[in-house]
Amino acid sequence: MHEPATIPLGRRLLIGTATLALATVVWLPLVHAFFTRPAAEFHAATGVSPKARELAARHLGLWTDPALRQRELDRMRASNAEWDFMGRSFLVWSLANLGLRDPSAKTQYLDVIDRIVAETLELEAEHGMHFFLMPYSKARPYVVQPERSLFLEGEIALMLASRRLLEEKAEYVKPLTERIRIIEERLRGNPLLAAESYPDECWTFDHAVALAAIRLSDALDGTDHSALCRDWVGVARRKLIHRESGLLLSSYTLDGLALDGPEGSTIWMVAHCLQLVDEAFARDQYERARRELGRTVCGFGYACEWPASWQGPMDIDSGPIVPGLNISAGSSGMAFIGASAFGDDAFVRSLAATLDFAAFPSRKEGRLRYCASNQVGDAALLYAAVVGPLWERARTGGKR
């Protein structure tokens, strides 16, 4: 490179520092432009978005290539057995939404859904519920016996109901009715309408999923659990709200003692599930979460795990927290679900920009995965990319 033979030191330092500062000010606000795409490329109002198609192709590939799937399962189960289970749940819910969005591929989706559901029920029957729970589920006995985990009951019920809403399957009617009966019995058996997921540990996430499953079941079978849903929301408003933020607590004991305060890894999905239970309450929770946890910096969106008024421990749900900005991988991933479900296109767009910028997409033969994520993370993203039609069908009583 040609440059003057000697530039006086003082001038060089002054100009070098000033131009570096200027370049930083110019470049940083521009970076997002290289990653920002219209929200519809992630979550489309109708049809299947390009990103959903690529993510779905990868997951369908996992269920048609046993070696690849086993490798992915080994990776996840090494960290958390729950992820194996949740990866299945999110994928089934996603495929049900995909089938409603793209009826031409429904047969393929139904085939994979049935395989996932059948294998999940077999594993649960063979190894018991602890197979899909973290080891501390065995650390002490469940308070309510015989032991049951609302985490499993709710998500399996929602899997069965989603499948049936996409297309009726007679052999799933009884298992769904039975799961819903157990959920109702457990909830009604506690003054706070609380049921354990782990010993004396009740999770709002699992309650919201279970209530959504109940609403889907009502739409399918003509039952009416609106009183139970109304009662649960009433208790939640009175007993489960974090005073400073107005957000729902994440976990509590059967007696209502708060364990974890509001958490991003919980609240986005809770707000989405509550759309079927109490639309106004759900929207209020989403808007509060957006205000308390959602951030956009230089065009990149992300979510914190905790509001400013609550500080919890970094754990398997939050994922690593980036210091300074308080970016939580877990909360940011789940924020996609909230933003897509509530039609918050601006937030979807900025979150998707961050995803492409910092989650390291990897494309191969039309299949998309994110290197900084795993199967359950990608399945949750797929769910966010296709969310909508299933809830819509439940609202219209199981009809289009």
């Binding site: 330092l13 200027l22 470049w27 940083l28 960290s79 900084a372």
Partner: protein
Amino acid sequence: MIFGRLRRFKEWLRADFLSPKDLVLRALSISILFLVVHVTGLRDHTAFLCGTLADPTMSWQWAAFLGCTYLLLYFAFVLLVPILLLAAAASAALHHRLERCCR
């Protein structure tokens, strides 16, 4: 002959701190390092961010080290390299202008 070229290359690499050439050389070094870690597949090890090992036979510490190395070089490549190049261009233009004014 090879040693002669090597010496000339080493001389060419020499640049005054914060001179335009110094900024470009730094951008070039980061780009080469990033290219190396990208081609060698370290991108997969960023899975440590979600608490998962890209290779279950690998230790957590080693996986996190590889993942962090990729992260640092990726962000340096995407954020720092353009800044260094923009600064080099602006700084070269300023030096050139000042030279002309002082003549």
